[in-house]
């Protein structure tokens, strides 16, 4: 019995350390395992590591590996594999995506085959959450040696890659030796259907048991079908209008604030996503989330916006361009258009530039834009999520182009604080300040959608979008 699954984007590679595309991560999470992973409630739970502990000043973390963990080639997962994997990530020649998150690691010790100790250059609590990423997966040391990471997929995860026909299908079989539990079916056949209307059609005709949907407009049609169930899970990724404070009028705090006041976040959400989501401030993770209405100008106030514009000398408005990526997210063009029409009310004349995703990313990374409609990924920890933008040393500071001492110091405080209540307080303050400085206009978070036939049960969605929940699914036709 196999689970027939469909998604619209194929994976683009098999190297767990180098792939960052959602489509690749969704696949790699089923094949490889990190030391720890996030469960449905974003709590850190065991994966390869059965348990772990920080030392008192949070400069060292020790993992105890699950003795049953096996790679799909039969070899046991040992501390040597963990060490080799992290060394590979840290090696600059690898070009690993998550290296920056682990740059503070100064030593990896393997007292025995089942224990790994990471030493950091200072207190670092968020590193645990960074370890949950598929980009921190553990791969066999032998495969690293052989240089076959990326061409073969030998992980310790619940599924084994049987076949991958690019752009067409991925065939997975269940890994009988998986230490994490048992899967109640034999494997997954994943089909790539690039058009989401086709996915819906395939669901309707019963060709597909389970599907990943990106487009809220398509997802909202699923509940109309009696035989289908839609799972929607709020996600951490946030839709945002990024302003570039290094450009023209946006250098003015007043202008940025005016923009923030002129945007009706709920209306953008209602139009572009048909209301599928909720308005949010910068902090999207449930544990840190605050009531957004308390943030600066989250109630639309055009008069105030106009006043702010006038104060800064832009009573007559200005023109600027806003860039958005085609189809990424699928609602980007619609968002841009609603924003354009809202900002027109305070005299800002926006030109929309739709770009192919990689052209967009290229311009984004260069900070070469006035404004950008973006869907930025979220993390379960505010520091890991935002240090790249809102610390002075952040490596994407040149994209954000705005920093002040308060943001920087709040971030650094939050980084070393281990007490959850205190951290919440620090980051709430950070959020308030960020919303007021308005370098970006945070809009809302959407959902991750999966649709399934009614005979599928047991899927546990996850705010990170992981499909790991498929391991607990059962098929009762």
């Amino acid at each position: 019995e196999t689970l027939k699954m469909a998604w619209s984007q194929d994976a683009t590679g098999l190297d767990p350390h180098k792939q960052t595309a959602f489509s690749s991560l969704r696949l790699l999470e089923l094949l490889y395992e990190p030391l720890v992973r996030l469960d449905a409630n974003l709590e850190v739970t065991p994966a390869i590591a059965a348990s772990w502990e920080f030392n008192d000043d949070a400069t060292q973390i020790t993992f105890h590996l699950d003795p049953d963990a096996r790679f799909q080639n039969g070899a046991a997962v040992t501390s040597a594999d963990v060490k080799a994997s992290f060394e590979r990530i840290l090696n600059e020649e690898t070009g690993a995506a998550a290296r920056a998150n682990f740059a503070s690691i100064t030593g990896i010790d393997t007292p025995d085959a089942e224990t790994v100790v990471f030493t950091m250059d200072g207190p670092n609590v968020p590193i645990l959450s960074a370890m949950t990423s598929a980009n921190a997966s553990v791969v066999p040391a032998a495969e690293i040696e052989a240089g076959t990471i990326g061409t073969e997929a030998v992980g310790s995860g619940p599924f084994v890659l049987a076949e991958w026909v690019p752009n067409s299908k991925v065939t997975l079989t269940t890994n009988p030796d998986w230490a994490g539990g048992t899967v109640s079916y034999d494997g997954i056949d994943i089909n790539v259907l690039p058009d989401e209307t086709a996915i819906l059609a395939a669901l309707r005709s019963g060709q597909v048991d389970f599907a990943l949907l990106n487009d809220p407009l398509i997802a909202t049609l699923v509940p109309n079908e009696a035989s289908l169930t839609l799972n929607k899970e709020p996600v951490l990724a946030y839709h945002v209008l990024q302003l570039n404070p290094a450009r023209g009028a946006m250098a003015e705090l007043g202008v940025r604030q005016a923009i923030s006041c002129a945007v009706d976040r709920q209306e953008v959400l209602d139009t572009a996503l048909l209301g599928e989501g909720r308005v949010t401030g910068p902090l999207t993770m449930p544990a840190y989330r605050t009531d957004p209405s308390a943030l600066f100008c989250y109630e639309r106030d055009v008069e105030k916006a106009k006043a702010l514009m006038a104060e800064t000398g832009y009573a007559d408005g200005f023109s600027a361009t806003v860039m958005a990526a085609t189809g990424e997210p699928p609602t980007a063009a619609a968002e841009a258009q609603v924003l354009q029409s809202q900002l027109a009310e305070i005299g800002i004349d926006l030109t929309i530039e739709m770009m192919e995703l990689n052209v967009y990313v290229d311009a984004w990374l260069k900070g070469d834009f006035d404004m950008a409609v973006a869907l930025n990924g979220g993390r379960d920890d505010p520091y890991t999520m935002y240090n790249r933008y809102w610390t002075k040393a952040g490596n994407l500071q040149h994209v954000a182009n705005y920093i002040d001492d308060e943001l920087d110091s709040l971030m650094l405080e939050g980084r070393v604080e281990t007490d959850l209540a205190k951290r919440k307080e620090i980051f709430a303050q950070f959020e308030q300040h960020l919303a007021e400085a308005s370098p970006w206009v945070w809009l809302y978070t959407g959902y991750n959608y999966t649709a399934q036939q009614n005979y599928i049960s047991g899927f546990a969605p996850n705010a990170m979008g992981s499909l790991f929940g498929l391991t607990s699914v059962s098929i009762d036709k």
């Binding site: 590679g13 690993a96 690019p166 299908k169 059609a201 005709s205 990689n358």
Partner: protein, 319 residues
């Protein structure tokens, strides 16, 4: 024969042109393979990391060196390795080509099977109601965008009838001919009907021209029946423009019908190239464009040869 060989001699020239062209064009597109792979995360790379990845993707040299490195391998039959899929480019192309080829053949077959008889029929009923109806249908068929037809077909079938051709993974005809046909019939119909419309119009026009030719009159003066005059004397001549049209169309189809492949989720050559461009998978883009261009030229050559087989007047050596 000499003609075919001479035409083949032009192949390398054109192929070299295509190579240079695609090589430069694909590099002029902003964003590179590193960005395609790591997305915004590539902003976090250190300079050393970036250099390591550039070397990995073969982007570390200037264009001339890169070109030579690639082209000299191509000359040895090695099209390189796809940076996205980690497989040899040729393997990926040859995997997706059967589908494209089959789709092209099938839609041609449909187009000719519908178009030729209908065109001939319309010509023999010139200006009668049957002719008018066929002409209108053909006109409309030719004017409707294929992707709209495709979208509607999927929608109507899945909502109205709850059935749908199997989409996504593709079953080769050698494995399971029936399933294979089931997968391809709808897209082939979508492509084929638009093409059939063109065939109707061209064959009708050609037939009308030919029916007023002197040699048709000669055939009639021999006492041949109307049917024989049409099928034996007129049709072979009317085929000539149809062959030209089919050749051009077939050549294009072999390049992959991107939109139709997208809508019907067929992993054909068109999507391979589209995705390769999006992934900045240079080797794959270059390899598949070369492959498609080569096919196009071969098809063109075959059409010209078929042409001269059909029409002994055409002295290919003149070209």
């Amino acid at each position: 024969m000499g003609y075919a060989i001479r035409r083949l001699l032009v192949f390398p020239v054109v192929m070299f042109g295509v190579s240079v062209f695609v090589f430069v064009a694909v590099r002029l597109v902003p964003g590179d393979a590193i960005i395609a792979m790591l997305g915004t995360e590539s902003g976090l790379l250190t300079p050393d990391q970036r250099a390591a990845l550039a070397a990995y993707f073969g982007l570390d040299q200037n264009w001339f060196v890169q070109f030579w490195r690639w082209f000299s391998h191509v000359l040895q039959g090695d099209f390189g390795t796809s940076t996205t899929y980690g497989k040899p480019v040729l393997e990926i192309i040859l995997n997706s080509f059967p589908l494209t080829l089959e789709l092209a053949l099938l839609s041609m077959l449909i187009a000719l099977a519908i178009g030729l008889p209908a065109g001939v029929f319309a010509a023999t009923r010139k200006d009668k109601p049957a002719d008018l109806i066929l002409r209108i249908v053909a006109m409309i068929g030719q004017s409707t965008p294929g992707f709209v037809v495709g979208l509607l077909a999927i929608f109507v079938l899945s909502v109205g009838f709850g059935v749908l051709p199997e989409m996504g993974s593709f079953v080769p005809i050698t494995e399971d001919p029936l399933r294979n046909l089931g997968q391809l019939i709808l897209p082939a119909l979508t492509l084929g009907t638009a093409f059939a419309a063109a065939v109707i119009r061209i064959s009708r026009a050609a037939m009308l021209d030919i029916l007023s030719e002197d040699y048709v009159r000669t055939a009639r003066s021999k006492g041949l029946s109307d049917r024989k005059v049409i099928w034996r004397h007129a049709l072979p001549n009317a085929l000539i423009p149809v062959v030209t049209l089919s050749g051009v169309e077939f050549g294009y189809l072999l390049g992959g019908a991107v939109l139709i492949e997208q809508i019907f989720a067929l992993p054909g050559l068109g999507r391979v190239v589209l995705d390769a461009i999006q992934q900045r998978d240079y080797a794959l883009v270059q390899g598949s464009v070369l492959f498609v261009a080569f096919n196009f030229m071969v098809v063109n050559l075959l059409v010209d040869l078929a042409y001269s087989a059909l029409d002994p007047r055409i002295r290919l050596d003149k070209g």
